[in-house]
Symmetry: C3
Subunit: 230 residues, 3 copies
């Protein structure tokens, strides 16, 4: 985890993928986030974007506007965040943009963001993950609904944000859609298993991270999902 | 959790209470902390102050002086911090201020801070929580002593600071004194229960957060407390 | 934990040891880190340095060059970091410096850093800890190899960095080499014990911190180590 502009560029140069999370902005991020995204884009390396809290303050909006040309390999957010990002990037029809709810709450179901997710994926050429009770993953052509997980995941601060790290790990060695589907299945499997042994948030978090570590490729591939056309 | 001035103001506008903790100051907080407190004060919304580490460096003192007119709804600290804040805000008699120990250590018992807590509550019109072996909560008229908890709570970094978050949650839907008494009881109940199942800090922390989650309103209301006149 | 320059100086004045970790640099650290190291050096107090990530960006290199005259009481790093620091401070023979691998990876074994660690300890007059499967600790005259720990320690973000805190605690009340050997034994003992009860990273972390808390002086002293001349 780095905070300075040239350190972001150095991480891009040293690795195969980088994750930019906008949850807790510091002033220096005004430089670090665009510099890192540009470095990844220019080097043809994967980068994952979590547009947390779009609408809180002005810097998030400014940064997300700047990031548009760098086309994130994978975007992950809840339904409201995905809709807000697609709207900010003017990827939705005018009527959709006017009629839809906006904001950073998580009350929208993933289906409310289906069109926005598909539009984002069409624009970026990558994948989009909409987190919800059933997660929606799309590359703009195919939509995968990934089952599993637990309601306790929403009781852990940063649980959604942390998925960005798992997405980036997969993106080091797989194409955007494969990485997005596999890491979402991995996350859901770990959530399902943790909920089998823990009934409150802190012990759930411990069990969840343990299960992320224990899951095998075969088990992840067997996690339930449904596939449909976008 | 936000760090930028306009984001602090946005959180105030979006919610019913905000918590300002001064534990780990960054330069931008020189703007963010007063801007957020002012926004809460001007909007008539609750805000919780934890004056951590008053006396370390110059910015904490400067910020706490600036915060005085915004009258925090609830102040929480250990005895030394409460005494130091009441002294900084010149709420203690001259003799008291001169005769008392100062600093950020936690060696003072809560009774050493009783007068300072009452004076602070008189000034703010809100509530003050002094954390100690038995916690002291006052609105300037009544003093509640809240029992329970565990010595292991002092072995967890940020355990006292985290109570500010619980205080702010209660303050979203209750008056200052009710919120302060209820959240302190909630914290103590969770500590008592966690100590029944864990004997070392890390497993205690997991159990403590789990018990914060599990406690019901009836159980919290039944946590032992004593009431006296201020 | 503080971030501002005068707060670093205040912590030095208030305590007996301070720990400077360079893992996640913010712009203000350009002032805070040298100011704090200088304060400790000038006051004759212990300070511990963890030169994390030397080679990522330019500020780490600049800061580590500035820190050289303040001679850290204890340096801790993995083999690559220790070699990189000794090279940056020009403590290795020209041939060694040219022939050795550099960087921030952890692929070098501790023996690859033996000469660099001894050279660093000669220069600082303090102790150096090289973390690896078997840890190497030296004061430039004697080399101790400390056994124990667990491979799961490398699966916990910040596990190595956290040892710096334990080193600093010991350095408050012991000379550099005693503090370095004892805290490394303490860490290894806790790792061994945690691995006996946990098989995945998150439950291991909980068990590890619990065992750090439980270990007695006698048990720490009995943790296996081998002693040789430097």
């Amino acid at each position: 985890m780095v905070y300075l502009p040239d350190e972001g560029e150095a991480l891009v140069a040293a690795g195969n993928a980088v994750y930019l999370n906008m949850g807790t902005l510091f002033p220096i991020y005004e430089q670090t986030i665009p510099a890192t995204a540009k470095a990844a884009h220019d080097a043809g390396k994967a980068w994952v974007l979590d547009p947390v809290g779009l609408g809180i303050g002005s810097l998030r909006t400014k940064l997300l506007e700047e990031l548009k040309p760098y086309k994130p390999t994978i975007v992950r957010g809840n339904a409201s965040e995905i809709i807000a990002l697609a709207s900010l990037w003017e990827l939705l029809g005018a009527e959709d943009a006017l009629d839809r709810p906006r904001g950073v709450d998580t009350t929208d179901g993933v289906d409310a963001a289906r069109e926005a997710a598909v539009a984002l994926a069409h624009y970026t050429g990558g994948a989009v993950v909409v987190s919800g009770e059933v997660d929606l993953v799309t590359d703009g052509t195919t939509v995968v609904r990934s089952h599993g997980g637990s309601g306790l995941m929403s009781k852990i601060t940063g649980c959604g944000c942390s998925q960005g790290g798992v997405l980036a790990v997969y993106a080091t060695c797989a194409d955007a859609f494969t990485a997005a589907v596999a890491s979402t299945a991995h996350y859901n499997l770990a959530g399902t298993r943790a909920a089998a042994v823990a009934t409150a948030p802190a012990s759930f978090k411990v069990a969840f991270i343990d299960e992320l570590y224990r899951a095998t490729g075969e088990e992840i591939a067997a996690n339930p999902m449904c596939v449909e056309e976008a």
